[in-house]
């Protein structure tokens, strides 16, 4: 079976029609992982036993001629920040190297209940902090399209696994761009749903007012199918919203003629690579060709998004990561003599440089004398950023931008300069701060054959429209 073109529907139909068993499909993906992952490094843990049990369950349903659930037998990968019962969950950190989750993340449980076969857990930047996947405590991930380049981050392993056909789809998490930017770098689709759309129960927390779970897939329809599966209120996560879940799959093929698409000048300024600009402008022309009305708009506070984000995200992280204290989660420094020494040395020895930097920055921003100047100030600017979108969305249905200012950069290129790395998220952090949904879809390549991403941002809980626009572009491009 040709795994490269295999999507959710194709896999499910092939199983339903008995052309292939779920077991064989899982084995084919494991063979692909054995062949390619040595050089890519997308996976941290494989869970073959659990995968094959689930595949067998699907095959028995199929043999009995029973109707198959929407993700029946679909081999998927899960970013290693989502808890999986009985399976190691590391968050890319030495501090959780031996941590076995006692329960399943809701999104993972919903995927499995819909028939998905979980192949394994994917590599990521430590605690999802990074834009290149080089902050993993275990090993870097290489971009399957060019092994000298990064896959983006922090969901780099999930994006690379889908791009290299080692999984049909994957789940990732997005706090500042961590689904969309790696999707853009690896040439796949990445969807960050509205804040509250998908339960975070069982997601290892980075910044709780910004963390989202979403899919990385080979096409727009698969993203719609997975969103329909994982979206909706979960009593285990009080921030999951009580907003009805539409049938994204039924809606995503609707024509886009007449939709108003905003193009904000702030996303096309200094720092945007010429090849990326050209590809995104061509994509916008194609959308106009499909009958969309292109409306110039302004989101004037955009230049303040990165500094706002790095105050709020690090402040929340400094609090969330206080729990890694050497008592409960598998790692403790050896030879400690007092409780205080145990805390300090356990954290010192198990956190990487970027995690320490963010804990320090966040603790500083929250400390006495600096709270108003940094944390409160950033929360106020966050209001201004959210208002920019509120105002703009009274006039347009969605906003189209580049996902990232450049295509995938080289390993090591930005790893010594934290600020340069932070600026890789310049077009993605705004949506996390405002809580709006965003999707990245491939829109061409550079001369060096590196993928370029088109980002579509939408109104709160209006994933249907951004999926429609994404599908509209996908149709025009094929």
């Amino acid at each position: 079976m040709n795994l490269a073109s295999l999507t959710i529907d194709a896999a499910r139909s092939a199983i339903q029609e008995r052309k292939i068993t779920a077991l064989a499909l899982a084995e084919e993906h494991y063979a692909k992982i054995a062949e390619k992952d040595g050089e890519v490094g997308a996976f941290l843990t494989l869970c073959k036993e659990r995968a094959l049990e689930q595949a067998d369950r699907i095959d028995r349903l199929s043999a009995e001629g029973k109707p198959l659930p929407p993700l029946a037998g679909v081999p998927v990968a899960i970013k290693d920040v989502m808890s999986t019962r009985g399976i190691r969950t590391t968050a890319g950190s030495k501090s959780l190297e031996k941590y076995i989750s006692p329960y399943d993340c809701t999104a993972v449980a919903r995927m499995e209940a819909a028939g998905a076969v979980i192949l394994g857990k994917t590599n990521c930047d430590e605690f999802a902090m990074g834009s290149s996947n080089e902050n993993s405590a275990f090993h870097a991930v290489r971009n399957p399209r060019d092994l000298s380049r990064v896959p983006g981050g922090s969901s780099g392993g999930s994006a690379a696994a889908v791009a290299a056909d080692m999984a049909i789809a994957a789940l990732g998490s997005d706090t500042g761009g961590s689904i969309r930017q790696p999707a853009s770098f690896c040439g796949v689709v990445g969807l960050m749903p509205t804040y509250g759309r998908v339960s975070r129960y069982g997601l290892i927390a980075f910044a709780s007012s910004l963390d989202h779970i979403g899919p990385l897939t080979k096409n727009v329809k698969d993203a719609a199918t997975i969103l329909r599966t994982i979206a909706g209120r979960d009593p285990m996560d009080s921030t999951s919203a009580e907003v009805p879940v539409p049938d994204y799959v039924a809606e995503f093929e609707k024509p886009i003629r007449g939709l108003k698409l905003g193009v904000a000048k702030e996303y096309f300024g200094e720092g945007l690579d010429d090849e990326v600009r050209h590809a995104v402008e061509s994509a916008i022309d194609k959308l106009e060709g499909q009958g969309c009305e292109i409306v110039p708009v302004s989101l004037p506070h955009t230049p303040y998004a990165i500094p706002t984000y790095y105050v709020i995200a690090t402040a929340e992280a400094s609090s969330n990561l206080a729990r890694y204290d050497g008592v409960r989660y598998s790692f403790r420094a050896r030879g400690v003599k007092s409780l205080s020494e145990m805390y300090r040395r356990s954290r010192d020895e198990s956190f990487g440089a970027e995690v320490k930097r963010r804990i320090m920055l966040g603790t500083y921003a929250l400390s006495a004398g600096y709270y108003d100047a940094y944390y409160l100030k950033a929360q106020k600017v966050r209001t201004l950023l959210a208002r920019d979108f509120e105002d703009t969305f009274t006039r347009v249905d969605a906003i189209v931008t580049p996902t990232s200012p450049t295509a995938a950069f080289r390993l090591g290129e930005k790893s010594d300069d934290p600020l340069a790395m932070y600026l890789a998220d310049i077009y993605t952090v705004t949506a996390d701060l405002a809580g709006i949904p965003g999707i990245s879809i491939p829109c061409g390549e550079t001369k060096e054959k590196l993928p370029i991403g088109l980002q579509i941002l939408g109104k709160h809980f209006d994933e249907s429209t951004i999926l429609r626009v994404a599908r509209g572009y996908e149709r025009s491009a094929h």
Binding site: S209, A241, Y304, S318, G326, R344, Y364, Q379, K380
Partner: protein, 112 residues
């Protein structure tokens, strides 16, 4: 320089980090570089702007309701095993680097 060696030592203490001498030097450099960039926020007058602590307060809720009523869907009765059974003790302790079967074990807290 906004952040000094002394500040880094103080903040590391608050964050329960030790940091080696090399890490502290790098931290002074990095925090100054990042905070210098963050100072850009002071270009904006925010004196009449409400802070936004979370997204859920603004979107996706019934704006017709008042105060905590708006989040009534997210509350439940305060009862034991309200949503799910608590983890069995052995499961809750399974990841502990040191436990005695009933409790997490840590180095002595009070020195004498």
């Amino acid at each position: 320089m906004k952040v000094t060696d002394k500040d880094v030592a103080y903040v590391a203490d608050l964050a329960n980090l030790e940091l080696s001498a090399g890490e502290r030097t790098a931290m002074v450099r990095d925090l100054n570089s990042i905070l210098g960039y963050i100072d850009k926020l002071n270009q904006l007058d925010t004196s009449n702007v409400e802070p936004m602590a979370q997204v859920s307060d603004r979107y996706g809720i019934d704006q017709g309701k008042q105060g905590s009523e708006r989040f009534s869907y997210a509350t439940r009765d305060d009862i034991v095993e309200g949503l799910r059974k608590s983890l069995p003790q052995e499961v809750a302790l399974q990841n502990a680097p040191d436990a005695d079967g009933t409790f997490f074990r840590v180095p002595k807290v009070i020195e004498r």
